[in-house]
């Protein structure tokens, strides 16, 4: 289930896609990107630290198409940054391979990979002007004429609104401008892919939203693959064409934002994606007069037909019942069960309503102001057809 998007075959690597023929003309020792699209593929990548005692990531298989925006998301320490650093050549994987268009780049130095990396810490060269910072890669890795380099730097600066700042030192710029310079340093290389490691985490919220839109726009215009690492699931949802959810060093699920949101592959993904977090309730599978039902501390939830089919063999066992807050309907007078209302949290057009029923905390989302703040008790209905069921170890049942 989690390997679903891995169905592409290798044969496109021989297709000629002349779009980028000029882009790498000066890059004689970089992977030649001019012959075909830039498809990046990770196969069984494993990286450990401290002589194997810390496994940062393991069995990572990801495929990135040309022009695709892929977001690696997960809690801190889940291996997403390590994976990105392996792609960039800043870490050497213990096992597995990384290919660009079928060409194995696993052992190449990072400068020879034709990939651009944008650092979380921005990492500009403080002793060089903005112009020199942006030009750095061209100076070091290409033999373009200085006229051509100047043109590229100025084009990129124009795109990023940095034309005025070109001759200043990075320390004279604001955080947002610095991160733009760092993007410019990457863009000017016209790389096979951009690798961005939480690039906006140092910026304040407004600027971050603004930069997100800008990056997405740039990516659309350049049609270059982008691999973006973040711990912020909201950022992942808004940016990614494809989202790779990671936890404890393993890929949990790969899919479009909708797939990830609607059909989480396991309990971790369900709990990690979405805000407020989904309700995940432990239930016991029971056989009742009306068929299969799920008994929780506060209510016995009838199973739908599809759920019942799969639960037939699990009667008596404990399962996790998952339901997004928006699929709990709250009413004042009638409903399947009653819950105490703890807090109403305004989210703008919606309110998050935190409830407790039989000692279990639940959350629901309602349109703004629908539930008055001083309400004590509400009746709750569950849209059971929207629920997910997981085994106790987190594997999705249905």
């Amino acid at each position: 289930m989690s390997r679903e998007p891995m169905k592409q075959t290798e044969d496109t690597s021989s297709d000629t896609q002349p779009k980028r023929s000029e882009a790498s003309s000066g890059n004689q020792n970089a992977v030649d990107a001019s012959v075909s699209g830039n498809r990046i593929r990770l196969d069984g990548v494993r990286k450990t630290f401290n002589e194997g005692s810390v496994v940062a990531c393991d069995d990572v298989n990801i495929e990135i198409d040309e022009g695709e925006f892929v977001v690696l998301v997960g809690p801190s320490g889940c291996g997403k940054t390590t994976t990105l650093r392996c792609i960039a050549g800043l870490e050497e994987p213990d096992r597995g391979s990384i290919t660009v268009d079928g060409e194995d780049i696993t052992g190449l130095k990072s400068k020879d990979r034709n990939l651009a990396f944008v650092f979380q810490s921005i990492a500009l060269f403080p002793h060089m002007s903005v112009r020199k910072n942006i030009r750095f890669g061209l100076d070091m890795n290409t033999d373009l004429s200085s006229e051509e380099k100047r043109r590229r730097v100025e084009d990129v600066a124009e795109t990023l609104g940095l034309s005025e700042a070109l001759d200043r030192k990075p320390s004279a710029l604001s955080g947002g401008q610095q991160q733009r310079v760092s993007l410019g340093r990457a863009m000017v290389m016209e790389p096979a892919a951009f690798l961005l490691d939480e690039p906006f985490s140092a910026l304040d919220a407004n600027l971050r939203d603004h930069m997100r839109v800008e990056v997405k726009k740039i990516q659309r215009e350049l049609h270059t693959a982008m691999i973006f690492v973040t711990h912020d699931q909201e950022e992942a949802m808004t940016l990614g064409d494809k989202i790779v959810v990671m936890n404890n060093g393993y890929v949990q699920q790969i899919g479009t934002p909708y797939e990830i949101y609607n059909e989480p592959a396991n309990r971790f993904v369900a709990g990690f994606i979405g805000s407020p977090s989904p309700n995940l309730v432990e239930c016991t599978v029971e056989r009742t007069a009306d068929g299969i039902a799920l008994a929780s501390d506060f209510y016995t939830i009838p199973a739908t037909e599809t759920q019942a089919e799969r639960l037939e063999s699990l009667v008596g066992e404990t399962v996790i019942y998952g339901i997004r807050p928006e699929y709990l309907d709250l009413q004042i007078d009638r409903g399947a069960f009653v819950a105490d209302l703890d807090v109403v949290e305004p989210l703008g057009d919606r309110d998050a309503v935190h409830l407790s029923a039989g000692g279990t905390d639940l959350s629901a989302v309602t349109p703004q102001g629908e539930i008055a703040r001083d309400t004590d008790r509400v009746h709750v209905d569950i849209q059971t057809e929207e629920a997910w069921l997981f085994e106790e170890d987190g594997t999705r049942i249905v």
């Binding site: 960039a88 050549g89 800043l90 130095k109 990072s110 400068k111 990939l115 651009a116 990396f117 650092f119 979380q120 810490s121 990492a123 500009l124 060269f125 403080p126 002793h127 750095f136 890669g137 100076d139 070091m140 890795n141 290409t142 340093r185 290389m189």
Partner: protein, 277 residues
């Protein structure tokens, strides 16, 4: 403190602070003024009552002092510069390795080098003389340069290691992503950023080579490349109790002190940022 106006504690504190500063400044300045004044006095004058402004100023001490020191100043300069360059050549890669690389015995090795600083140098004189004679570098400028590495490299490695450690690794990695090898990243990015530390270490190494007396006196003979400082010892009479020409001694002291002062003034900005971390 400054906003409170005339409160007694504030004023007292400030007065005390200025008092301490004034005392320290005078403690340095008064002897210095006397040195300056005596260097312009003829011998007849500095043996009479102490006074600050010479009655009959003369350049005699300066010209004869400079004449005597000329060759030795060149030696001192070669020794100081050589000490600094050799120390940098050894300690820049060494300190970088201690800061950034993992290798067996890294911590133990580092403390072994640092503990060499605790060793009383005078105990090294005999073995070094013996060894240098055997190696054929006794009584040569190169021999002196080599001998000073014993004092200079430990503190240089210490200072530079901290400097390299404090530079963000991301910057180095950025250089590598954008076309540098580890070595070119070091040259293009790390060295320029570590410039204050490198200048500081070079300056201190130069000072060691320039100012040292012990090795300078013991590792050279009168016919060899004697640096300037041991000549001062000659001017003071070599402890023989003969009459000392204070004017010349003072002039020579000032002459010897001038080059490091100029270097300090030139490198001041770097040095300040190096030691303000």
């Amino acid at each position: 403190m400054s906003t409170t106006g005339y409160d007694a504690t504030g004023v007292t504190l400030k007065a005390t602070a200025y008092g301490v500063v004034a005392f320290l400044v005078l403690g340095n300045l008064v002897p210095f003024l006397f040195i300056l004044s005596v260097s312009f006095m003829p011998p007849s004058e500095f043996f009479t009552d102490p006074h600050l402004v010479p009655y009959e100023p003369t350049l005699e001490a300066w010209t004869s002092g400079f004449e005597e020191l000329r060759g030795n100043l060149v030696n001192s300069f070669l020794i100081g510069a050589g000490t600094a360059l050799l120390a940098l050549a050894i300690t820049i890669p060494g300190a970088y390795a201690f800061a950034r690389k993992e290798f067996y015995g890294k911590t133990a090795g580092f403390y072994a080098i640092i503990s060499a600083m605790m060793f009383p140098y005078i105990l090294l004189v005999i073995p070094i003389m013996d060894l240098w004679t055997a190696l054929g570098v006794y009584n040569t400028i190169f021999g002196m340069i080599l001998a000073y590495q014993v004092f200079v490299t430990p503190f240089s490695i210490w200072i530079l290691r901290d400097f390299f450690e404090n530079l963000p690794t991301d910057i180095e990695e950025a250089a590598q992503v954008y076309g540098c090898t580890q070595f070119t990243a070091f040259v293009r990015v790390i060295l320029p950023l570590a410039a204050p530390g490198i200048v500081a270490v070079g300056f201190l190494a130069f000072l060691t080579g320039w100012n040292d007396f012990l090795f300078a006196n013991l590792l050279t003979t009168g016919t060899g490349p004697v640096p300037a400082v041991p000549v001062l010892y000659g001017t003071i009479g070599g402890g023989s109790g003969e009459r000392v020409y204070w004017g010349k001694l003072m002039a020579e002291t000032l002459i010897i002190g001038t080059p490091p002062t100029i270097i300090y003034l030139v490198a001041r900005n770097y040095l300040e940022s190096a030691f303000s971390v």
